[in-house]
Symmetry: C2
Subunit: 343 residues, 2 copies
Amino acid sequence: MREPVDRTPLWMMRQAGRYLPEYRETRAEAGSFMGLCTNPELACEVTLQPLRRYAMDAAILFSDILTIPDAMGLGLYFSEGEGPRFERPLENAADIEALVPESAVTELGYVMDAVALIRQELKGSVPLIGFSGSPWTLATYMIEGGSSKDFAKTKALAFNEPALMHQLLEKLADAVALYLSAQVESGAQALQIFDTWGGALSHSAYREFSLRYMTRIIEQLPREAEGRKIPVIVFTKGGGQWLEAIADCGADAVGLDWTTDIGEARARVGGRVALQGNMDPSMLFASPERIREEVATILESFGSGSGHVFNLGHGITPGVNPEHVSAMVDAVTSMSGEYHQSD
Amino acid sequence: MREPVDRTPLWMMRQAGRYLPEYRETRAEAGSFMGLCTNPELACEVTLQPLRRYAMDAAILFSDILTIPDAMGLGLYFSEGEGPRFERPLENAADIEALVPESAVTELGYVMDAVALIRQELKGSVPLIGFSGSPWTLATYMIEGGSSKDFAKTKALAFNEPALMHQLLEKLADAVALYLSAQVESGAQALQIFDTWGGALSHSAYREFSLRYMTRIIEQLPREAEGRKIPVIVFTKGGGQWLEAIADCGADAVGLDWTTDIGEARARVGGRVALQGNMDPSMLFASPERIREEVATILESFGSGSGHVFNLGHGITPGVNPEHVSAMVDAVTSMSGEYHQSD
């Protein structure tokens, strides 16, 4: 990921997604979102769809961040307009005690089958990125029973019974480490940890309840497979203020949302980690000309040399015109060469 | 606000609110939320309620941030579970052209009546803070027609038709300046601008579309009334990364949410502005002992001397036990004295 390149590599969070008509077709065929996730052939199909349209430099496994809690027995389902929900959210210490980290591999064969199939179908064209939610992010859904505005229950547990919360987060960190290691064994060539809700914590609670467990995961991951390094990317949405701390967690790259100036971020972390990001996904609602300008601004802000992976600052929004993604991809591929002449 | 004090002053965003049973009673009497806002006697009553329970050092006008767009004719209403909505959101250039900034004073006599009545009823006990939403925050509701997850329409307008967006924001800034000036004339002794959604912008778009217009407002505000300074507080939720720029907008104090370490913030802005904040509102779901610990941590992080106004990092959440607010208030009043011995 930090190797010399002749242009800035790019991929897009949620690149296999609802903005693509072919995705919506396959999703309809699968009958449900989880039907799509649990069917390796269909998961492989949607993973490959964006690569047929765009010059992306990586594929990312199509799956859900909540597969692990589902494997642990919480009963994931999707309700119209409310997003993901659990039938049996965690309610007490016994529920946490009962969680088995190994479920993340024993129950998730369908994910590993998808990884293996996608890797095979990619035929070496681009690397495959595996992923998982962060322990803190998984914990919020497992305790709240779904999405939340203020994470009141999760934070009340963290603040009032920190030992119990740490027990839960340790189990989740171990489960995520097993899960990501199995993805590497099945063929994943890079890994991303999505810490969607770490940014809802205070500066100190973030370190205690989120970053610490991502560090614990990374310590347990294989650093190499098939003779090549397995880069690990950590992405905390809303984590821009904590960049120096995040850059010390052992990850090879840190994802940035669009609130951070990527040039300033580079100055803050020096060459310690690569930076991934960071165009506002809503910029894809702008005109192709405006998108091109924004890409130019981000490339210029990062500046010359390797260590930048172009991406959005969060997942692409449903409703984006696929032509606008082309504008972004074309801008990155045509304009980034000048920043790599000395590589 | 930067004058020597013998302990750290405090108030709480949304201190007149649903967590108080007496508020829920008055709200029921009013029949609706807007019924409460538009009735000066009832708005005064709920403004005073938290002061009867807690040793708060300021009252804050009870009102809604969307009074200005309502006054401009957009038709504010509240729908169950969806929050505030507008009957006639802005749809085109003609809608923006038709907006009259002066509506913020000609149509909002009920706000000024509430300010005057509250000021009278306070009998000089504590100062009264007036407030408004920021131009960017108002614009998001006026364009989206209500709350939004990604502000797609608002951002598309900002990115594709910046001149039109600037026209809207100029009008809103002028309206807010008129509105806040009228609040001062009616008796408000300090002012806060709530920039609830500025943090959804990129670092550069924040400066262009939000901060610039808060600066424009502050330039138009009276700096003194009744022979005393009128301090202005600016609060951008999610603005921690941009603190240096915010501290230059002309405000006397900057509100911080809980993602920023207040000690680091103080080091970054020096003595240029006072800092307000910044306990995570969800900490009020923790035990009184834990709340006390957190207050101690925040006071210690800020350190000795004046320039800190204790507050939450966002509005108090409905569902908080009022006794837990007592724990916070008692902790601030009992523990902050030691940081003011040299004042």
